[in-house]
Symmetry: C2
Subunit: 259 residues, 2 copies
DNA sequence: TTTGGTCGGTTCATTATTTGAACCATCGGT
DNA sequence: ACCGATGGTTCAAATAATGAACCGACCAAA
């Protein structure tokens, strides 16, 4: 493994449950020598990628990240655009909408929007880490991802979150196959009990799925009509987001425009 | 220079004027061998820090940055909090407010807010790169930065932006000294002609200045009364932002609370 | 169609950097 | 005073980074 990879991997140990990590902890977590970790963190600190919180204390992500993110947003305004999309989606459906991006073997929720339509709603916080197999977004993305990626994901052990979490490989492949026909991934209580989610993938300029927009609602409100409406809205907004970030639906997507 | 530093330095060549950079260009810009650049970019690409735009085309900043930034925001909500601050500042003063962070030898504008109060206003786009010596924010930060950092900055060549840009080292040191008394940096047409800016530094938990809030107005509206109001608002909002991100004014700050 | 200049990407022997065990100094709890 | 943490440092040994040359693809001019 290259040194750069090793350094960047250290960043993956930060999460919203563990926003600060000490030198020794980081060495343990990454299974790397303390001296090595120190050097890597020091180099990243000099670039503002990480910073130290107190006097000689733990490390956390640094302000330099913000500049890079702002720059990324300036060229590919995914977040800016998606906020509008999520707002629309949540208004149209009266339910919670969210956006997840792919990062390695996991998905991360980057943004969300609530609807004021109902007192009960699915709540969520940003930057939650979620598994592919248990979410509508994950299935939506897998359906249009490279086969090797799908194999990679499906060869990993699958956590069981609820009594309805699907972990059987064949069943998952079948679900994925279904997404290729409908363009919509679906999870019925797979991650959280009583939550029925639909999701549609969003594509980049290379027709690779990079994120997914999703709508999550309680079982009680997921009538066939509501589901129908959600699916239509998702397709429409996923297309809009895809277009606005300069991407294209792939050939095998059921709602791909005629070439 | 360490490999990690070399890799991260490549990211600094991206700017909003040059959001995409080809392999050969990057090699030229960084003065590094093409093979090396390729390996570094590849490793960063695998981590989502950069991505390639088309089929075998240029590189740009990747979506992985967004996740890290969201995580940073979750632990130290600088941007989220600052947006509110900038809004307030711009409402209170009727002028354009903005926030800049330190990154190496430069400042970068991370966020801004316009006021609807006047038809003419100072306009700006985010992620602009600005020099320390020519801006109110730069002087505000230098006044409370480590001496070695100030020496570093002042030993660099200083660009002349307008007829009123101050480049004389002694004059700059004098301005910086003045900031230590008032808590406010000032630039009268130093970066843009006809723009009078005031700025106040914002501090982190170690009492180190990490960014600055500023108000920029046309000469024509900068009456003594307006300036007085702006200064008061800046101090108040810089303190608020400092507190909200868990920082403290240093001992030598004129508005430091009694310990 | 040929030529010449790019481009992104790859190879491999040489070289310089990374690595990790052991070692400090310091801190906080017992 | 002790113990076991912590963050940080050192230096010989091992490993990974490096760069000149090379490849095929592409594009524009001849």
């Amino acid at each position: 493994m290259g040194t750069v990879t090793k350094a960047l991997n250290l960043l993956n140990f930060f999460s919203h449950d563990r926003p600060e990590i000490g030198l020794s902890d980081m060495a343990r977590l990454s299974g790397t020598n303390k001296a090595t970790v120190y050097r890597l963190l020091s180099e990243m600190q000099a670039q503002g990628i990480v910073e130290q919180v107190g006097n000689g204390r733990a490390y956390r992500l640094g302000p330099g990240i913000l500049r890079l993110a702002a720059l990324r947003e300036a060229s590919v305004p995914l977040l800016e655009v998606s906020r509008g999309i999520l707002r629309t989606l949540s208004d149209q459906t009266g339910e919670t909408a969210h956006l997840s991006i792919v990062r390695g073997q996991k998905l991360f929720v980057l943004a969300h929007a609530y609807s004021p339509a109902h007192a009960t709603k699915v709540t969520m916080e940003d930057v939650e880490e979620v598994a592919f197999h248990a979410t509508a977004s994950g299935l939506a993305i897998l359906a249009f991802a490279e086969n090797s990626f799908v194999q990679d994901i499906l060869s990993q052990p699958r956590e069981v979150y609820t009594a309805r979490t699907v972990t059987n490989k064949d069943a998952l492949l079948e679900s994925i196959e279904a997404v290729r026909d409908t363009g919509i991934g679906e999870s019925v209580g797979g991650l959280e009990a009583e939550v029925h989610s639909h999701a549609a993938p969003v594509f980049d300029a290379n027709r690779v799925p990079i994120c997914a927009v999703a709508v999550a609602a309680p079982f009680s409100r997921m009538t066939p009509e509501a589901a129908q409406n959600i699916r239509a809205c998702l397709i429409e907004n996923a297309r809009s987001l895809t277009e606005q970030i300069g991407g294209f639906f792939p050939e095998n997507h059921p709602y791909a425009r005629a070439a």
